[in-house]
Structure formats: C-alpha cells, structure tokens
Amino acid sequence: MTTWLLSLVPVYGAYLVFAATFLSCLALPIPSSLIMLAAGAFTATGDLALTSAGLAALAGALAGDQTGYGIGRLFGAGLLARLETAGARGKALARARRLLSDRAGMAVFLSRWLFSPVGPWLNLVAGAGRFHWLPFTLAGIGGEAVWVGLYVGMGRLFAANLEWAGDMISSALGLVAGLTALVGLGLWLRHALKERAA
C-alpha cells in the first residue's frame, strides 16, 4: 500500500498532492503527510518542482478547509441550534461553543498541523457555529502553511531517506502534541483542585 502510493507521487506530482491534502482535510483517511514528505523528497531529486508541489499541497488543504466549513454552515447550523436548546446537554454544548469561539483563531491554527486529527471536525464545528469566515480563513492559511512547510520541507531536506524522515517527524509531532495537551489539561486539573480547596 505504502510503496504503491509512493510510486504514484513522482508520476502524478502536484495533482496527487492536491487531492491528498484536500481529502484529508475532509476527514478521509488519506496518508497526506507521507505523500507530502515524498513530494518534498522528489523536489530534491529533480523529479518534481518545489513551487508546484508546495502550492498544490497548500491549495488542496485550504480548499478542503473551506469545503468543511461550508458543509458545517449549510447543514450543521440548524442542527447545532436545535441541540443547544435541549436541556442540560444543550447548555453544556452552548458553553463549549462560547469557550471555543474565544480561542477560535488559535484552535484553528494549531489544529492544522499540531493537532491535525482534530482539524476536519473543527472545520465543521466552525461552520456550524457560524464563526466569522475571515478569522477562520486567515488562521487556516497560517496553520496549513506550517503543516505543508513542515512536511514538504522535511521531505526535501531529508530526501536521502524518506522512511527515516517519516518516522522522525511523525514521532516528534506526536510527542509535541501529546505534551501540549498534557500541560494544558494538567493546568486545568490543578485549577480545579485549587477551586475545591478554596
């Protein structure tokens, strides 16, 4: 599966990269990180052009984000409004949405690359919750640029051994994401304990 996918990268280049990042931003299980790494490597070996590979990856990701946001806005807004009027759970949902909307820009930015599994779902929620389009889009562009830059850049830098680059970057990002969540939740729990003591 992996080698079959890798063999498509030098042949279909930018089209494949675009499709991969687009679909993965819609929560489809596409190994877009691997494809971007490979595309980056093949720009170093002279098989692909860096600008077209990088721009295709970025364009695909942004188009995917906008599609998710649009779907959320079209189909999710009514559903969310109905859920929020339904009892205690609705109140919690409304509070969660307000909490998120205060930090929406940062959440969108980080969920593009650091907490990327959350990204597609956040697009839907942002659309359904009618978050402002411009801040969503700007934070999205920033985050996707980091995501694409990291993977295509690492692929290009470590083109001599793709497997190595893939193993390293996925482990490092996973570790950073885990640590970030750990610290955030740790602070939250400490705060909760302090409140009890007070």
Binding site: T3, W4, L6, S7, V9, P10, V11, G13, A41, F42, A44, T45, G46, D47, L48, A159, A160, N161, L162, E163, W164, D167, M168, S171, A172, G174, L175, A177, G178, L179, A181, L182, L185, G186, W188, L189, A192, L193, R196
Partner: protein, 119 residues
C-alpha cells in the same frame, strides 16, 4: 488519592483526557527513541532499491551523481525525470528486480572508480 477521587467524580472528562494525553506522550517518546536507535544502524542508511523510487532518488540515497547513474544505465540525462524505476524497467521489458541489480552494479562500479563520493 483524595485529589484523584475528586477529579474522577467532578472532572471525569478532563481527567480521562489527561490520562489519554499522558499515554500518547509516553507512546510517542518511546517511538522516537526506538527510531533513533533503529536508524542509527549504518546498514539501514543505504535504502534497498525499490520500484517506487526514481533514478534521482536512488542517486540521492546512495550518494552518487545522478548523471553518473544515468550514463551507466545508458539513459539520456533528464529523460527519466518523473518516472519510477518500475516504469523504466517496464520500458526496458525487464522485471524490476533485474533492473535493480543493474543499478546496483552501476553504483558499485561508480564507487569503485571513486566517482561516487564518500562511503
């Protein structure tokens, strides 16, 4: 212990998420350590030639000039760009394995001739 019981009773979701984040962190730290040791082995530095690679990729991975590799295989320079070894082998009417052997021979010759940089 009291604190744990309190968090479990009042902040269960955050508490479970914390434990989850802890296991994710430990998992990726272990994974990173494993790969650091795994890839430190010099035998894994030269990647086995496979059908998904391009000639440029092989040249890069084995640290020999791409034109040396292309010349040694009798392929006009630049014409193999964007083509995988599987495609090139098919165009020659040979299985990938034989083509890989041919490439290995060219690399060995280039390295023996001193054109291949450092080992």
């Amino acid at each position: 212990m009291n604190a744990v019981r309190h968090l479990w009773a009042r902040h269960r979701i955050a508490f479970v998420a914390f434990l989850l984040a802890l296991s994710v962190t430990v998992f990726f730290a272990a994974r990173l350590l494993f790969f650091l040791v795994y890839w430190a082995d010099p035998a894994r530095q030269d990647q086995d030639i496979a059908g998904w690679m391009t000639l440029g990729y092989v040249a890069r991975s084995w640290d020999i000039p791409p034109e040396t590799l292309a010349n040694g295989l009798g392929i006009p320079e630049g014409s193999a760009r964007g083509h995988t070894l599987a495609e090139l082998a098919a165009a020659r009417g040979m299985p990938v394995v034989s083509f890989a052997d041919e490439i290995t021979a060219v690399i060995a010759a280039a390295r023996a001739a001193g054109a291949g940089g450092t080992e």
